[in-house]
Symmetry: C2
Subunit: 356 residues, 2 copies
């Protein structure tokens, strides 16, 4: 049995989307159980529609819900100890749930997750990992926005975290790992990327195959299984790709409705277009995973529908089932046993981060 | 008359692509003249195929050609004073050409351009600006990879440079300007972006309308006319968008050849697909523009065909015609007259940059 704690109040739609999503997952993953946190008067009626789900779920009433526009500091002030988001995370810490899923706002969820679960022993900063569809399948890209900037040691942490996730989610024994960089040679700066590259090559870890530097277009090509970068560039890459996909979708719709011939062609090829839409649909691989914490937290897209939220819950389930945290801890231990000096010389940002 | 100096030896195809491109431009821009730099024995026979073009062109033999895989320092060592790339740039410095176009390698072209033309008086670092198609038309995005990192003053320089380009190329009187940032609030770091935002708002310049922060997906939406960022994130955004466009193009081709119905639909909608391909074709808006130098240098994509190279030459022509440099200089003067302290407190990287 795997138990997932759910913040039912997060996202643009709340329980109306979350509860039907859990019903979808419950039919596909029979050994799953839910601890659902939210306002009883809105969640209970939704849950009543799915008696089979209700049997597998425990509903815990929470007065407070973190709002989508709360700043992280506001959310911590008003929602700590008592909000549905906090309680769902706390269930993971207490061991009463194996992982937590919320569609609530990213900043608040990260701030609460860090405060409640804390980072793993040798990890300075958590990362948000995205599952990114590419021409060969899917890859893990991190950090897509947990923090800005990363030194060489933090980039190596991200590489280990992302490798663990690729192994747990894709079932790849030894994922290939690339460091995101710019192609222009002899450009000044980003010394931390070069240093991380040197260290990863020297470490020659059994769990990952270090590929070298990759550029932005390698993400879509699927050159590597795990793409590592700091959160500013990673977030901009992710959002730019989403924007480009929407832009091309718009071109395509406009082109297919422009002439009678195009509209006829569209009707013939409708099956193909539906398949294409599914390929381009971000909700199929929905879920930003918070890595580097003492617990698994998955952030669903705030605007996701039930299919999207279900994908995020199944992602959490799969990572627990495949022992993500154990894999990561083993790799971190191995790396630090071989590189005993590395924790000492790293810059610690833990204290500074927790002020926010 | 506008005279453009051409490095005929750059790019993957050299004169075979460059010379036919010039012929295309010459028919569309009757008052254009060319100074063509390259190995006479390969350029002369190409030029002989277009007698009309030959009349408008001067061919200057250069023994040395910078290779596509030369590092910037190698190119400077072997190609300074004598390569076709160097001579084409030098023609702009000498005033015998109004602008320079090359499809040679970016790093070498930037190194030579900086060395030969130098940065404008108040500008620390040049930027590479891309013309980026979006859902509302086109925008200018910079820096897409000239240098890594930028402080607040350099971001403001980029905003002024990009504004001048948007005015000269798109004919917009007062372009909207956005600073690329991540959406997560209260994230630490990127203080330089926040400071640049404050300064741009306070400056309230007549030539630009400062919009505020934009995110990665705003580029494709066309939220602003000019998107400003430092070169690492900008390069990754550009390459990621290119990769995403190719990825979706691949999905589309696969979907349209999968079933008989889809293939029939494709035949009906072929006109629409051709239009779509044209929309997605990067060569239509080909050309990275080097801004912040005492002269206009346009970098054409190395793999561009003649239509693509022609687009780059016409971009150079349009910028000269619309007095790009005068506009930029006027705006820089205005900004620094109002903010007299700003050059003093800026960090100067000029010396460090020129070592590379």
């Amino acid at each position: 049995m795997i138990k997932i704690s759910i913040d039912a109040m997060g996202g643009d739609h709340g329980p109306n989307v979350v509860i039907p999503a859990l019903q979808i997952v419950a039919t596909r993953r029979p050994d799953i159980r839910f601890a659902i946190y939210g306002r009883e008067e809105v969640v209970r009626p939704e849950l009543a529609k799915f008696p089979g789900l209700a049997e597998k779920s425990e509903l815990i009433h929470c007065d407070v819900a973190v709002r989508m526009d709360d700043k992280p500091s506001q959310a911590l002030r008003h929602g700590r100890w008592k909000s549905s988001m906090w309680k769902a995370i706390e269930a993971v810490k207490a061991g009463s749930a194996d992982a937590c899923v919320s569609a609530g706002n990213t900043g608040a969820l990260m701030a609460m997750s860090k405060f409640c679960l804390r980072t793993m022993a040798t990890i300075d900063r958590p990362a948000i990992a995205a599952i990114w569809p590419n021409m060969r399948g899917e890859s893990v890209v991190l950090d897509v926005g947990a923090t800005i900037g990363a030194d060489a040691h933090q980039l190596i942490d991200f590489a280990i975290l992302g490798t663990g996730m690729a192994r747990a989610v894709f079932g790849i024994e030894r994922p290939t790992v690339g460091l995101l960089n710019v192609g222009v040679e002899e450009v000044k700066g980003q010394e931390e990327v070069k240093e991380a590259g040197r260290m990863l090559r020297e470490a020659n870890m059994a769990s990952m195959s270090y590929h070298g530097f990759v550029e932005g277009d390698d993400i879509g090509k699927g050159t590597v299984d795990v793409v590592v970068t700091e959160g500013f560039a990673g977030n901009i890459a992710l959002k730019t790709a989403e924007g480009t996909a929407r832009q091309i979708g718009g071109y395509l719709r406009a082109a297919m409705s422009r002439t009678l011939m195009a509209r006829i062609g569209y009707l013939f090829a409708k099956g193909a277009f539906d398949l294409l839409r599914e390929k381009m649909d971000v909700s199929r691989s929905n879920g930003g995973v918070f890595l580097g914490l003492n617990g698994v937290v998955v952030k669903s897209h705030g605007g996701a529908d039930s299919a999207g939220f279900a994908a995020a819950v199944e992602l959490a389930y799969d990572m627990v089932r495949n022992r993500l945290l154990d894999r990561i801890e083993a790799d971190l231990d191995l790396f630090h046993a071989r590189n005993p000096q590395s924790p000492a010389i790293r810059r610690s940002d833990v204290a500074a981060d927790e002020e926010g």
